[in-house]
């Protein structure tokens, strides 16, 4: 077979990949923003003014930016939880449920007045929250690994169960719910269990730093450890992983539980850092935003940081946009969804085409 290889930026290993995937994502986001702009215009607002308001809302002053930092924390942790699953070829769509369970677990500890030193109380609350979420994640993990139950449907069902469980706890359960509250909520957390505020006058808590550190840790784990190798191998080709002696079932459970723990950590930090109570639907929709974050990031932990910030900016800025231009803040989730849809719409086929090109060129290449 004659091969005529034309040099092309996309054929350069590594560098080509980065340029390609980066430009894909940016193109997708641009198209998403453009389409959303048209929708904003249709709802009788100037899109440029709206986006301007959005940027102002996110970066206008230090308080605005602190707000972004606060909002980004659950997105980073939850997004990483989904991303680690993606790397292993698993769709861990249960983040919302894990967040609720994490919040419940840490809440149960945080409302107790044990006279613990603050650091210890916080640590205990976080650990219990993560443990609750881990147990919750064990269910779909076990079912997927040992029974072959599709994890997407299963985790989504469990999300609803978690929501109703939280609902009950904050409205009816005497040991947990605030009695006589006009809105269902848990008792307020002890001061010792609340995360410190880093900047007076804002609600900035250290969650964002935890999120960034966790993402970096996972970047390292995936790239430089046997655990990461195993996980990527499972995602790349489960048959080959099994053939190489990986205990696939154990690895699936492990990855799902890890993802659940990250989600739980996100939920725990959200309540001990920001809300100081558990409310009935305090993270509604965040779980799905985390999936979008992981996707935009292409499962890459460093990408999760960028994608998480992008979404947090949209969310915080969206509120300002709503106030200043009268466009409903629901527009935010439309923008998010459109951006992701365009990224995958533009992206995967492109990727596919390039892959195939090189395949065709090389598969037929002569041996000698």
């Amino acid at each position: 077979m004659k091969t005529e290889k034309k040099p092309n930026i996309t054929t350069i290993p590594f560098l080509g990949d980065i340029i390609l995937s980066g430009s894909r994502t940016l193109t997708g986001i641009a198209l998403g923003l453009l389409t959303s702009g048209i929708l904003i215009a249709l709802s009788n607002a100037n899109p440029l003014v709206a986006y301007g308001a959005m940027i102002k809302g996110a970066f206008g002053d230090i308080y605005a930016f602190c707000n972004v930092l606060v909002r980004v924390s659950p997105l980073l942790l939850g997004g990483m939880g989904v991303a680690i699953g993606n790397k292993a070829g698993i769709w861990n769509t249960g983040i919302e449920g894990y967040m609720y369970l994490g919040a419940i677990g840490s809440g149960l500890v945080a409302i107790q007045d044990w006279g613990l030193p603050s650091a210890l109380h916080i640590l205990l609350a976080v650990i219990v929250g993560m443990a609750f979420a881990a147990v919750w994640g064990l269910i779909p993990g076990y079912l997927r690994a040992h029974r072959g139950v599709n994890e997407v449907t299963c985790t989504i069902m469990l999300n609803y169960v978690a929501i109703y469980l939280t609902n009950w706890l904050v409205s009816d359960a005497g040991f947990f719910a605030e009695s006589g509250a006009f809105f269902p909520m848990s008792k307020i957390f002890q001061d010792s269990a609340q995360l410190p505020i880093l900047l007076r006058g804002t609600s900035l808590h250290p969650g964002v730093f935890v999120g960034i550190i966790v993402c970096l840790i996972f970047f390292f784990l995936l790239k430089y450890t046997p655990f990461g190798f195993r996980t990527r191998m499972l995602g790349g080709n489960p048959n080959a992983a099994r053939y190489s002696g990986v205990d696939i079932k154990k690895q699936i459970v492990l990855v799902m539980v890890l993802g659940a723990m990250l989600g739980g950590l996100g939920g725990a930090i959200e309540v001990i850092g920001l809300r100081h109570r558990v409310y009935s639907d305090f993270v509604t929709g965040v779980g799905y935003e985390c999936i979008a974050v992981a996707l935009l990031a292409g499962g890459n932990p460093v990408g999760v940081i960028f994608a998480g910030f992008f979404f947090a900016i949209l969310k915080v800025g969206g509120a300002t946009m709503s106030i200043e231009t009268g466009v409903s803040s629901s527009m935010t989730s439309i923008i998010m969804a459109l951006c992701v849809l365009f990224v995958i719409g533009v992206g995967l086929t492109d990727n596919h085409r390039v892959k195939k090109k090189s395949n065709k060129a090389d598969v037929k290449q002569k041996e000698e």
């Binding site: 269910i139 069902m157 109703y164 979008a292 629901s330 527009m331 995958i344 086929t349």
Partner: protein
């Protein structure tokens, strides 16, 4: 007294199952063709709002249904374009369509504030008053709106279409071995588009039945409450067969209806636990199923026309 509760429960079971049945019928065709349309939750939501809005502005239920069908077809087309032509990941595509739908319905519903206070025209009850008065039967069956009756007949029609028509054969074949269909001279892409658009239409209709079947109002912020996901589970539990899936849908509908009834009775069990019931049953059913059942071979996988 206690019989009354059972009757009203049965009646509610039929009513709550109807939207599930409609959505499930479409989803079966889509999944049989290899495409998991996870966007049905969102399409349902849009159909629910579209039904209400069209019924409100036109004061005509038929117009509302037609508008819903058109919307469902367009959304199905969008999902088909992404998953079939662009070969995007079906899970992500569906979840993002749901996110988009949640945002869009909230946005539009906020703009249509006048529909909020008004109850709009709903699906009519076709049986005369006299028949509705018949004890038991009347209460359970004859006071159902026409939409419920159609929803219950539909799975049988779907079974005939799937197993006895040429198109049904094409759909079954495409999901299992698209290359075989291509070499037989048919267009795989076209058949997949048709199946996915079909799932879009039925999902939108399901949403429409949810709002116009009885209640006649829309509640913003996820009024479908994961019913689209429950349907997806029912399709899996039902082994991609219209009749078995219908049974699964009815069981979920019954759990849903029971939950509402028990909630009203002030049972000792907190009502939130009853609300969990349909979802828990789904998880248990998924677990208990059905590894033996026949999964379409290319379920969830993209079709590359150039691969052989």
């Amino acid at each position: 007294m206690s019989y009354d509760i059972i009757f009203s429960w049965l009646q509610a079971t039929l009513r709550w199952s109807a939207p599930l049945l409609l959505v499930a019928v479409g989803e079966i065709f889509s999944e049989r063709s290899g495409i998991i349309n996870m966007g049905i939750e969102g399409i349902m939501l849009c159909g629910a709002l579209c039904g209400i809005a069209a019924s409100f502005y036109s004061q005509n239920i038929l117009v509302a249904v037609l508008a819903t069908i058109a919307l469902g077809a367009i959304m199905g087309l969008a999902v088909a374009y992404l998953t079939v032509s662009r070969r995007t990941n079906q899970v992500v595509t569906g979840l993002m369509v749901n996110m988009l739908a949640t945002g869009a319905t909230n946005l539009l519903f906020a703009m249509m504030s006048e529909t909020r206070s008004t109850r709009v025209g709903t699906f009519p009850i076709i049986f005369p008053q006299a028949m509705q008065k018949i004890p038991v039967l009347g209460e359970i069956f004859f006071c159902q709106p026409i939409s419920t009756w159609i929803a219950f007949i539909l799975p049988f029609i779907a079974a005939v279409v799937l197993y006895k028509t040429k198109w049904g054969l094409n759909v079954r074949a495409v999901g299992d071995h698209p290359q075989a269909v291509a070499t037989a001279g048919l267009s795989v892409i076209k058949i997949k588009y048709q199946a996915v658009i079909c799932s879009g239409i039925f999902a939108a209709l399901g949403g429409c039945v949810l709002t116009l079947g009885e209640v006649g109002y829309f509640a913003s912020g996820g009024m479908t409450g994961g019913r689209g996901f429950i349907v997806m589970a029912a399709v899996v539990v039902g082994g991609w067969d219209p009749l078995r899936t219908a049974i699964a849908c009815i069981i979920f509908g019954a759990a849903d209806a029971a939950q509402l009834r028990l909630q009203g009775m002030g049972s000792v069990i907190p009502y939130q636990f009853l609300q969990m019931l349909p979802y828990l049953i789904t998880v248990v059913a998924l677990t208990g199923m059905v590894k033996s059942s026949h999964v379409p071979k290319t379920w969830g996988a993209a079709y590359d026309p150039d691969s052989h």
